[in-house]
């Protein structure tokens, strides 16, 4: 049933082609009119009981007999060389069972430390308190080296040292060109230009990163709070030079990831090394402070953006120069240029993206990486352009509406962004925008909106196995993780739909490399759209096998067999022959395994998600406080699989977006290179008191080109437009355009002091 194909895949704003094995029995897509019983109806979480009773075991909760607890010693300096390290006092401390450092494990501990928080040594002890006591007994003599934590000098001097610039093309920035940018600006009647800055923002998943490692001879079992158990398995296999069948990685429940747990980290290797040395299981969970220092963040950016347009609002040129501070050991910057390339129809576009190495913690993927950072400048400057041309913000966006994919010229598989604009405007009452009178009042009100584009169509490789048990229940076995989005429930709905069983008859087993097939990882809004279609195929395969055997039993053709709600029907009979449970027993406890593989993506169309958000804010001109009063979201992500879960994703993304817009910022002391707020007190996350009225809406329509479900991803898209929608609303309220995030109370207060009622631009 398998065949090898080439398929294109859009991963976090970048499209590429890869070879995958897919099923050749691809079922017909569920169209908008498909009659579905489970899919599309709200269903509570199938693992809700475990989560509300405290029974769900997260990596943090794994306790094994004889398990030790580990702590890590980290660099206090942003750039230093270890001159000497002495672990003897820690080693001799009662209760300490293993110590690792560059002295004995040079493969993971370097003597050159690249950022404050870089790993120096680790140890494991009988309990957490002893480990914490002992870690400070390790004595290190550092030679402090010159450092740079800011990408700004790069922009000013034009060039830093060679090694500080990380780029894809031998020291050159990533450049994209469409049309002729000079010609575009020559044709423009009006040009707007600003330099925007976005901050370092942290995921702060409530469960920190970490792992539990356990050796049985040369077999390694690792529990890790991860978005990709298969990625961790490969990483450990490479590090320990072990075959894959000797490494089992488990993540049944995990306490949030938001992109930060997509990549593997040193914690699992350190836990495994300590466990091997001590001959006992080891748990190494990071502290909240470590979580803030080393596990990745949304990279800070500096974006110089220039737009040219005709007097009627038609864009003639978009020019972006972006500098991304990727930190130490950082990978390439994410696609901040994405929105400029693909949001609007513009013939002349140039983007230039520089990734700059600095002595700060490595950046990482964070919910719609790149596009969140890129949407703020573009959507802010589109509003400024509208203002210059005395146009409505919605009007200028519709004027430049991309009916085909501007980056490739291909048609979109489905695009209902226009409907998102209309519906959102209607719900929030966009027309009232003109009649707001803020003159002389302390509390001022404003409306703002912004748009979003992001992939999310999914793609191969992704696999699923469905097993029918002798009692008529079914199990879906996957290598996926449920990072909190509720995909487990969606998979149960899909299997229930095809097996014609109730959702509660389906058990979904995830998060164990020993039980489920390869999974591409829970990121990029890919899980429902990649793994979901494979689950459907596997359920159909299981059903087919069952029908064939049942047909043989009753001596009727397989296509004359039906199973409905756990009962077996044949021919046109309205009375069931027997229950499915009985049937399987009659078949001699025959266990059926259905297999599914995600089908290939088609060529010729672009599969993308769209959406628009509208914000209403109140700004207190005395305190600078912003209250987001209402947020209306309308997203176009194909079929909605589970409405209650979908609304939850939108609300959650918006609340994170509010934090990004108004309060969240990692602060680095430029003089020492030390992070000043690595905790949940000073890094200000939204609380229950910051939540506005959120109105989540969808253009619920099957995208028949996307995959056999007609559904696209939803985890990331709704965080993209939130911050620019709020920023635009603030600008309407007080007449000041803020060029940097977050727009804190202090910033608003200072801007009002400086500009008074004159308005203007504030850096």
């Amino acid at each position: 049933m398998a065949k090898l194909i080439k398929s294109k895949l859009n991963w976090e704003g970048t499209t590429f082609e890869r070879t995958s094995v897919v099923g050749d029995d691809e079922p017909a897509v569920w169209t908008a009119n498909a009659q579905l019983n489970c899919v599309g109806k709200s269903h509570p979480r199938i693992d809700g009981f475990q989560r509300v009773t405290g029974l769900a075991k997260y990596t943090f909760d794994i306790q094994l007999p004889g398990m030790l607890y580990a702590h890590v010693l980290r660099s206090p300096h942003p750039h230093a060389r270890i001159k000497q390290i002495d672990v003897s006092k820690a080693d001799k401390f009662p209760g300490v069972r293993a110590v690792i450092s560059s002295l004995n494990e040079a493969k993971i501990f370097s003597n050159v430390l690249q950022f404050a928080g870089d790993e120096v040594a680790a140890l494991a002890a009988d309990n957490d308190d002893i480990a914490e006591d002992a870690i400070n007994l390790i004595q290190v003599e550092y030679e402090i080296l010159p450092f740079n934590t800011d990408a700004e000098p790069y922009l000013i001097s034009g060039k830093l040292q060679e090694r500080q610039i990380v780029t894809s093309l031998d020291g050159h920035p990533k450049i994209y060109r469409r049309g002729n940018i000079q010609k575009g600006f020559q044709e423009a009647d009006v040009i707007v230009e600003e330099t925007f800055r976005t901050q370092s923002a942290l995921h702060n998943s409530l469960e920190t990163h970490g792992a539990v490692a356990f050796w049985n001879g040369d077999e390694l079992t690792v529990w890790e709070s991860t978005q990709s158990i298969y990625h961790v398995q490969r990483y450990l296999a490479e590090f320990f030079k072990l075959p894959l069948n000797k490494i089992r990685v488990i993540c049944e429940y995990m306490g949030g990831g938001f992109g930060s747990k997509q990549s593997s980290g040193k914690w699992s290797v350190m836990a495994a090394l300590l466990a091997r040395e001590a001959g006992r299981p080891v748990q190494l969970m990071l502290t909240r402070e470590e979580e803030n220092l080393v596990t990745g963040h949304r990279a800070p950016t500096i974006q110089k953006l220039r737009l040219g347009a005709k007097n009627n609002g038609t864009l003639t040129a978009i020019d972006l120069v972006a500098t991304i501070n990727v930190g130490a050991n950082g990978s390439m910057g994410r696609a901040v240029e994405g929105p400029c390339q693909s949001m609007y129809n513009c013939p002349n576009v140039q983007t230039e993206t520089h990734s700059v190495f600095t002595n700060t913690g490595p950046h990482g993927s964070f919910r719609a990486p790149g596009y969140v950072e890129g949407a703020f400048p573009l959507e802010s400057l589109m509003d400024e352009l509208a203002k210059r041309l005395k146009m409505d913000p919605m009007e200028i966006r519709m004027k430049n509406y991309a009916f085909t994919d501007p980056a490739t010229g291909q048609k979109f598989s489905a695009k209902h962004l226009d409907k998102c604009y209309q519906k959102g405007a209607e719900i929030i009452g966009w027309g009232q925008r003109q009649s707001i009178n803020n003159k002389g009042s302390i509390l001022r009100y404003g409306y703002g909106m912004a748009s979003q584009t992001w992939g999310g169509g999914g793609g191969p490789p992704a696999f699923a196995w469905v097993r029918l048990n002798a009692d008529g229940t079914a199990e879906v076995n996957l290598g996926s993780q449920d990072i909190g989005t509720g995909v487990k429930t969606v998979f149960a709905q899909i299997a229930a739909e095809e097996l014609e069983l109730e959702v509660d008859k389906i058990l979904v087993r995830i998060g164990d490399t020993a039980q489920g097939p390869f999974d591409p990882g829970s990121g990029g809004s890919m899980t429902v759209a990649s793994v979901g279609p494979a689950v459907r195929q596997a359920a159909i395969d299981a059903r087919k096998q069952l029908y064939e055997v049942v047909g043989g039993y009753f001596e009727v053709p397989a296509d004359q067999v039906r199973i409905r709600k756990g009962n077996v029907y044949v021919l046109d009979e309205t009375k069931p022959r027997m229950s499915l449970q009985n049937m399987i027993r009659q078949l001699g406890e025959f266990t059926i395994i259905g297999r599914g593989a995600r089908g290939a993506n088609g060529y010729g169309t672009t599969v993308t998600t769209f959406g628009a958000q509208f914000a209403e804010v109140e700004v207190n001109t005395i305190t600078g406080e912003v209250k987001v009063q209402r947020l209306v979201a309308v997203h176009d992500v194909g079929r909605i699989m589970n409405p209650i879960g979908a609304d939850g994703q939108v609300a959650g993304a918006i609340i994170q977006g509010i934090g990004y817009a108004l309060t969240e910022e990692q602060v680095i002391d430029q003089a020492t290179g030390i992070i000043l707020n690595p905790n949940l007190e000073d890094y200000v996350l939204p609380t229950a008191l910051d939540v506005p009225s959120i109105d989540s809406n969808f253009i619920d329509d099957s995208d028949t080109d996307a995959n056999n479900l007609g559904a696209k991803g939803l985890g990331e898209p709704p965080i993209i437009p939130t911050a620019p929608a709020i920023a635009n609303a603030i600008t309407q309220a007080i007449g000041i355009r803020f060029l940097s995030l977050p727009i804190t109370r202090a910033k608003i207060f200072e801007a009002l002091q400086k500009t008074g009622n004159a308005g203007g631009v504030f850096p």
Binding site: F49, V52, V691
Partner: protein, 188 residues
């Protein structure tokens, strides 16, 4: 004429720093633990009693994931020493449901999908339990205040508010049914 104040008797009861026996009453059962006095209640619950429902997220009283009830009051168990809790009733998420019957708050959390990853959920439920036990008919503002010390990074707040509202109604019904039942019992 005021009497001369008695010299206060300073009762010094030094225990530790090594492990000492500590008796804790958790979820209606008594446990004797051998722990260092510096052990926090959260660590004692998690490490010594294997009750891992209360979560350690910040360890500094900033997030509320470790919330438990101490004599009915919601507290941060990461900021409380286990030894300080002797003689008091500790209620954790593991003790909220009795005989496998979910508490109305837990049921409402499932129905309203008042969680995503679930890591803050125990704390949220305990904060709401403390609220509803003390105030069976809270206003929306009181509900928000009650969970304002419980961070949910997934942003399930709107559904948490809905669940708390729904649970309040269910709890009131349960109470009045119990009350009526009791009265009935008395007259019989």
């Amino acid at each position: 004429m005021p009497s001369t104040p008695k010299k206060p008797q300073l009762q010094v009861n030094v225990r530790g720093p090594d492990k000492v026996p500590v008796i804790l009453n958790v979820n209606r059962r008594s446990y004797t633990l051998e722990i260092e006095p510096r052990r926090t209640l959260l660590d004692a619950l998690r490490f010594d009693l294997n009750m891992t429902g209360s979560k350690k997220v910040c360890g500094m009283g900033e997030c509320g994931a470790c919330t438990v009830l101490l004599d009915g009051k919601a507290i941060y168990s990461c900021l409380t020493l286990a030894i300080e809790c002797e003689g008091q009733q500790i209620l954790t998420i593991e003790g909220v449901s009795e005989d496998n019957n979910l508490d109305p708050i837990q049921k409402a959390f499932i129905d309203e999908e008042a969680f995503q990853c679930g890591f803050c959920t125990s704390g949220q439920i305990m904060s709401i339990k403390a609220l509803l036990d003390a105030n069976p008919d809270p206003t929306p503002e009181e509900i928000r205040q009650a969970v304002s010390g419980n961070i949910c990074r997934c942003g399930a707040y709107p559904n948490i508010f809905k669940a708390a509202t729904k649970a309040a109604i269910a709890c009131r019904k349960q109470r009045s049914a119990k009350k009526n039942g009791d009265k009935h019992g008395e007259t019989d």
